[in-house]
């Protein structure tokens, strides 16, 4: 809870729900006749709508990217370290949009929302959505705001994949594309972890094939296990060793199955907290969107071939101890962009935090981020003055 809102915070923010009545044809073949998106915006959209920045969220993210909903909030939005007045994404200069993706569980159309056709929650009947579908829905969100071209589209992890897909699907609608801690597609190991998480959820006796809303139940154990597993892949071995080591909670081993090591109780705490705050059906959907992401599939696996469509300038960032989407995965993107003769910069940030590093205000990371955003701003000004000329 902030006693005083910090000067570099966007302050108290309010989400808005935006309705879309034009049917959205999805990659899976099904159509959403109508849908809504929960959105937050920070900063002011300039006269010619050239200063908009879209933030794409990762697996468990949402529209609440920065600021506080009330003075009672314990924590600010999930990327508050990067967004605010004077921060890397400076809200004095940029109009920033955060949204909850379709299929999410924080207010956008998704499994836990009422299906207007049945009057009941969608539950497992909510269609499988893909990164392509999200890009399409985000493009319509841009239309809603009157934004023809984003100054930048930025995302970490699954969010970075959306940014990358944007550059291919709508090359003229973004000037800069920032792909952080991402990969051009998931490895078999990545998919394997996702499958274990999905099994943990769907095997939970409280899951009821996804119809747990009607039973007023939550597959808590399954979600908790999924999150505990996920969390291990977000941290690095070094990071865990530094933070927890083999520390014992009570100072001695008790020779039973209660949590004794600090890491055990940490994972249980994280899992439990998540199991009450996140929707199981959404977790299944998000992991599927990750598994299916493969922009090169449309070009016989030739990533550089498909990236030749892109016109944006790229900034790719990875973190040394990230093993979920390792630096080598980011380098695959960079190599493909070089081969496709696109503009790209790449930084590999030394960090002990594993995949989680992309959310942590590491000084060098923020330096690179700020320096790049200065270029985004310079290009925004060029468009602005070019547009007036």
């Amino acid at each position: 809870m902030p006693d005083v809102i910090p000067d570099d915070s966007v302050g108290i923010v309010e989400p808005q729900k935006i309705e879309f009545s034009e049917p959205l044809k999805l990659q899976c073949g099904r159509t959403l006749e109508q849908y809504h998106l929960m959105v937050e915006t920070y900063g002011e959209l300039n006269e010619n709508c050239s200063n908009a920045v879209l933030i794409c969220h990762a697996l468990s993210g949402n529209h609440h990217v920065a600021g506080y909903h009330s003075m009672e909030d314990k924590k600010p939005g999930w990327w508050d370290s990067a967004i605010g007045p004077g921060k890397a994404i400076d809200t004095n200069k940029f109009f920033v949009i955060g949204l909850n993706n379709l299929g999410g569980c924080h207010g956008s159309s998704g499994p836990n929302q009422i299906n207007p056709e049945t009057g009941k929650p969608y539950g497992p009947d909510f269609p499988i959505v893909t990164v392509n579908d999200w890009v399409e829905s985000q493009a319509r969100l841009a239309d809603y705001f009157g934004i023809e071209q984003f100054a930048a589209i930025i995302g970490g992890s699954l969010g970075g994949m959306q940014a990358l897909q944007w550059s291919i699907n709508y090359p003229d609608r973004l000037r800069h594309c920032m792909v952080i801690a991402a990969a051009p597609k998931l490895s078999a190991q990545n998919i394997a972890f996702n499958e274990v998480a999905r099994q943990a959820i769907s095997q939970d006796s409280q899951f009821y094939n996804g119809h747990y809303y009607e039973k007023d139940e939550v597959p808590k154990v399954g979600l908790m296990l999924a999150r505990m597993l996920g969390h291990i892949t977000y941290l690095s071995d070094d990071g865990m060793r530094n933070k927890f080591g083999r520390e014992l909670r009570s100072g001695q081993i008790s020779y039973d199955f209660t949590p004794q090591f600090e890491i055990e109780s940490y994972l249980r705490y994280q899992g439990e907290r998540f199991s009450t705050a996140f929707d199981a059906n959404t977790y299944l959907l998000m992991t599927k969107a990750l598994d299916y992401f493969d922009p090169a599939a449309d070009a016989d696996g030739n990533l550089s071939g498909i990236l030749e469509k892109a016109k944006a300038k790229f900034m790719v960032i990875s973190f040394t101890t990230d093993w979920r989407f390792s630096p080598e995965r980011s380098q695959e993107i960079v190599d493909a962009l070089v081969e496709a003769d696109r503009q790209v910069s790449y930084a590999e940030i030394e960090a002990a935090h594993g995949h989680d590093a992309f959310l942590i205000p590491i000084p060098r990371y923020l330096d690179v981020f700020s320096a790049y955003m200065q270029q985004v701003e310079a290009d925004t000004k060029a468009v602005f003055f070019g547009g007036n000329a």
Binding site: M315, Q331, V338, D341, Q343, A347, E348, Q375
Partner: protein
């Protein structure tokens, strides 16, 4: 602007695709982008340099050249440049080969260890040369592979590398007429333009 960079720019044609190995703070690429409308990237490993490149709007890719350039396809670039860094490489010959593989032509600059001052230092003091221009001592120098102009040209002959142009300057990067009387003795920095 560093004077050797000033000399290099005349060898880069407008609109070409350039790769600058060990690009530092991006000064040369920035200049070439603005004046010659070149495209391409700098490769660099220094964190501050990388941030500075990004701030300047120079495309920079964090990459340790010693780990190889195998991810870059043949003839990707029109010109591959390496200024004052060949002598710090583990295998300068392999780097030159790689540069000529990924680029149609290359520009290489390095300090001449055959300069009279270096020769004199070793000959008369019996110690590895230390100067304002070569400030390191033998045990902490990053310059593990010093060579002379003659050495470099010998490498070019052995590897069938064609020297398109060469210029030799003093440590202020000035052309002096007398340097050309005996370049390997009087020149301090060499700038070579090579191709296969």
């Amino acid at each position: 602007m560093r004077a050797d960079l000033e000399l290099i720019k005349d060898w880069v044609e407008p609109g070409k695709r350039v790769l600058d190995l060990c690009c530092g703070d991006g000064e040369l690429m920035h200049y070439l982008q603005a004046e010659k409308k070149t495209t391409g990237y700098g490769l660099e490993i220094g964190p501050e340099n990388i941030t500075e490149c990004i701030r300047k709007g120079v495309n920079v890719i964090e990459k340790d050249i010693e780990e190889g350039l195998a991810s870059i396809k043949d003839n990707t670039f029109d010109t591959v440049i390496m200024t004052q860094a060949i002598q710090i490489m583990m295998r300068p010959d392999e780097i030159v080969d790689e540069m000529l593989r990924i680029g149609k032509e290359c520009i290489v600059t390095f300090p001449n260890f055959g300069h009279w001052r270096a020769r004199g230092y070793l000959a008369f003091r019996g110690k590895m040369p230390v100067s304002k221009f070569l400030p390191y001592t033998w045990y902490n120098t990053p310059n593990t592979h010093f060579c002379t102009f003659k050495d470099f040209e010998r490498l070019c002959v052995e590897r069938n590398i064609y020297i398109m142009e060469r210029t030799v300057v003093d440590n202020e990067h000035q052309h002096r007429w007398w340097i050309h009387l005996w370049p390997n003795m009087l020149g301090e920095i060499a700038i070579y333009r090579i191709t296969k």
